[in-house]
């Protein structure tokens, strides 16, 4: 169980206008608040620089917040940090194991540090560790990205933590390994572990029980992925066709289009509810585009994120 109330940390310096920190944007009264019940996978989704790592570092007792409270299980992050360190597993965004020690030596090191042994916890980490066990004499520095990830997870799990904090665990990992990784998290969750995970990949959001969309140090939405999507109110179309890159400019120029973003091989656009697909299609044909297909789609988490971001900016302008 994790409980966070009005957490704030300000990195903002006088010299730069770039915002840095969490929960201190503008003159908002409150900082970040949320709670995660036991056995839930809670995802913090947001772009780089949103404050995900800062939040996690505070919860992992590596950083002191300016104000607010946070409890991990029943322990306070400031007063009971010693207890917290026994019950959390933390995996920082950057691979931070010893490159010059072998897979097994790394694992043994972290086991000993937590006053336990590999043997005692073998069953617990078996699913993950077995995949890298054939390479146990290899130096950690010589592992592939996916294997490093598994080793890091094994090391974070070796003392059977109650709460697992994963800071962008899948950044720089191939899609297959990413999928495997989330499958592992699912298993751990079923075993009753509380998991706090951050990611910049929006497609991973649906694998969480609940997600918080984070931007500029604020949570702009906290809900289940399904509900976040259900709350999406705008009309969303996807537009495909030839010469997509220059098409984006022309779509933006169309008066009834509100937003448009490139999404790989298509554009996602939000439009006035009264607009008909044919009208836009005719307009684009007139502009000389071919193979145009326009479909109404259900939004992804990324669409929701973009929409919420846009709303925030609009709100700012109106002020």
């Amino acid at each position: 169980m994790i409980e966070v109330k009005n957490l704030r940390k300000n990195y903002h310096s006088e010299k730069s206008d770039k915002y840095a920190g969490i929960g201190t944007k503008e003159d908002k009264e409150n900082g970040i608040s949320f709670s995660v019940p036991k056995g839930e996978v809670f995802g913090v989704i947001g772009p780089d620089g949103a404050g995900k790592t800062t939040l996690f570092r505070i919860l992992a007792t590596l950083l002191l917040a300016d104000s607010g409270e946070a409890r991990m299980s029943k322990w306070d992050v400031v007063e009971d940090y010693k207890e917290i360190r026994k019950i959390i597993g933390y995996m920082p965004g950057k691979f931070s194991l010893y490159f010059d020690l072998s897979v097994e030596e790394n694992l043994k090191f972290f086991a000993t540090v937590f006053d336990t042994t590999i043997e005692e916890n073998y069953e617990f980490i078996k699913d993950i560790y077995q995949q890298i066990e054939p390479f146990k004499t290899r130096r950690a520095g010589a592992l592939s990205g996916g294997m490093k990830q598994k080793l890091a997870l094994s090391c974070a799990l070796i003392h059977q933590p109650e709460i697992l904090i994963l800071d962008e665990p899948t950044t720089g990992v191939d899609p297959v390994s990413r999928k495997e990784f989330w499958d592992m998290l699912k298993k751990l969750k079923e075993g009753g572990m509380t998991i706090l995970v951050s990611t910049a990949y929006m497609d991973e959001a649906t694998r969480c029980d609940r997600i918080a969309l984070m931007r500029d140090g604020e949570f702009i939405a906290i809900d289940t992925p399904a509900q976040v999507i259900a709350d999406y109110e705008q009309t969303l179309w996807s537009v495909k066709g030839d010469n997509l890159s220059s098409m984006l400019e022309d779509i933006r120029a169309y008066p009834q289009v509100e937003t448009s973003f490139a999404f790989g091989d298509e554009h996602h656009i939000t439009v006035d509810p009264n607009l008909k697909k044919e009208e836009l299609s005719d307009y684009l044909t007139e502009k000389g585009y071919t193979n145009i297909s326009i479909n109404e789609i259900t939004p992804t988490v990324e669409d929701c994120f973009l929409a919420l971001t846009k709303e925030g900016e609009k709100g700012k302008e109106e002020d």
Partner: protein, 373 residues
């Protein structure tokens, strides 16, 4: 305790796995003791002299022979023109010009005094100065030699000289061998480099790799972590010193006159202190580059202002103050006292006390500035 032992084991494992450091631990002291005592030597030898002999007499010839016979001087050129000698200096073929006046022999016999002129090239100050001093000494010898000869021919009492013969006796380094003076200092320098810089770099590289974060979220206390970082380097410091002791003993036949025990005790105190300094450096730097530069900055200062190369007593007042607030000065003093003079605990009590104060001070600062709860 078990955790600490395991952490130290891990450090040793990593150190031994390093491709350079284990070789360095053995090779460094041997190299330093083998080469540096010969190279770092302030004795001035082979000073080249150009003689301008305007006199060309028996007396001037004898003087030239006398200079040539000295092991310090090489007669480069004998001319009769000062300008030609100056060209030698300009071409760096000569360090000193010895100019003998035209009526040198007549003046000696008639007036009992004669002038010669010494001009030394002082671009290299030590060489010019010492060369001048040595040459003056030869001239003095020669003049007293002449005096006694002339006194034989002229027995009038006013020429009778009461000569004071000074026989110097150099204690603790009888032959004024510079190597003997340098060796303890080189040992100090080696230990400073290894035990001051390496732990600092080690800790900062954990910062750079991010492993320190992983350590920080574990229940390891900061004392355990710091001790586990330092103890291996204390041990490495001892190994290096021991190798150096043996090499010096076998190669130069110099064994510590005061015995090994006071040496090891004061080394322990010094190593603890200097690794504390390394730790402070690591606490204030985020990257290896920063740590490297900071370490070199401070270690260069404490080495140069320690009396390693130049005696503290001849430094300006402010530099003396710096030197006396420098742990290296005290360790150097102890090493030289024990190695050469054979001092025992009573003799080294004072500097040892200062060393202890530094060790406590540095390490307190290091622990306080280490940012882990």
């Amino acid at each position: 305790m078990g955790t600490l032992k395991f952490l130290i084991e891990k450090e040793f494992k990593q150190t031994l796995r390093n491709s350079i450091i284990p070789k360095l631990i053995v090779g460094y002291p041997i190299m330093v003791m083998l080469i540096f005592p010969w190279a770092i030597n302030f004795e001035v030898k082979n000073i080249k002299v150009s003689v301008v002999d305007h006199n060309n007499s028996v007396y001037s010839q004898r003087l030239i022979q006398k200079v040539d016979a000295s092991k310090y001087f090489i007669i480069n050129n004998i001319t009769s023109s000062y300008d030609e000698a100056m060209v030698d200096i300009e071409k760096t073929n000569a360090d000193i010009i010895l100019e003998i006046q035209p009526f040198f022999d007549k003046n000696i016999v008639k007036n009992k005094t004669a002038d010669v002129m010494l001009s030394a090239n002082s671009v290299d100050g030590t060489r010019g100065l010492l060369g001048n001093a040595y040459l003056s000494q030869i001239l003095n010898d020669y003049s007293s030699e002449l005096r006694s000869e002339l006194a034989h021919t002229d027995m009038s009492p006013k020429h009778k000289m009461s000569a004071i013969n000074i026989i110097p006796q150099y204690k603790f380094n009888e032959n004024l061998d510079y190597k003997v003076f340098m060796i303890p200092a080189l040992m100090v320098m080696m230990v400073t480099l290894i035990c001051g810089i390496l732990p600092a770099l080690n800790i900062v590289s954990e910062k750079e790799n991010g492993t320190i974060q992983q350590i920080n979220v574990t229940p390891i206390s900061k004392y355990q972590f710091i001790l586990a970082k330092l103890i291996p380097y204390w041990i490495i410091g001892f190994i290096i010193l021991s190798i150096a002791f043996v090499v010096v003993g076998l190669l130069y036949g110099i064994w510590p006159a005061g015995g090994f025990f006071p040496l090891y005790i004061s080394s322990l105190v010094f190593i603890v202190g200097i690794s504390g300094l390394g730790l402070i450096i690591s606490n204030y730097s985020e990257t290896l580059q920063q740590a490297m530069f900071l370490a070199f900055f401070f270690i260069l200062i404490i080495i140069l202002l320690s009396g390693l190369f130049t005696p503290i007593a001849s430094m300006p007042k402010w530099a003396q103050i710096v030197a006396y607030s420098n742990p290296l000065s005290y360790f150097m003093e102890i090493m030289r006292m024990v190695y050469l003079k054979g001092s025992s605990y009573r003799g080294i009590a004072n500097p040892l006390l200062f060393l202890t104060a530094f060790a406590v001070g540095f390490n307190t600062w290091a622990v306080l500035s280490y940012r882990k709860r």
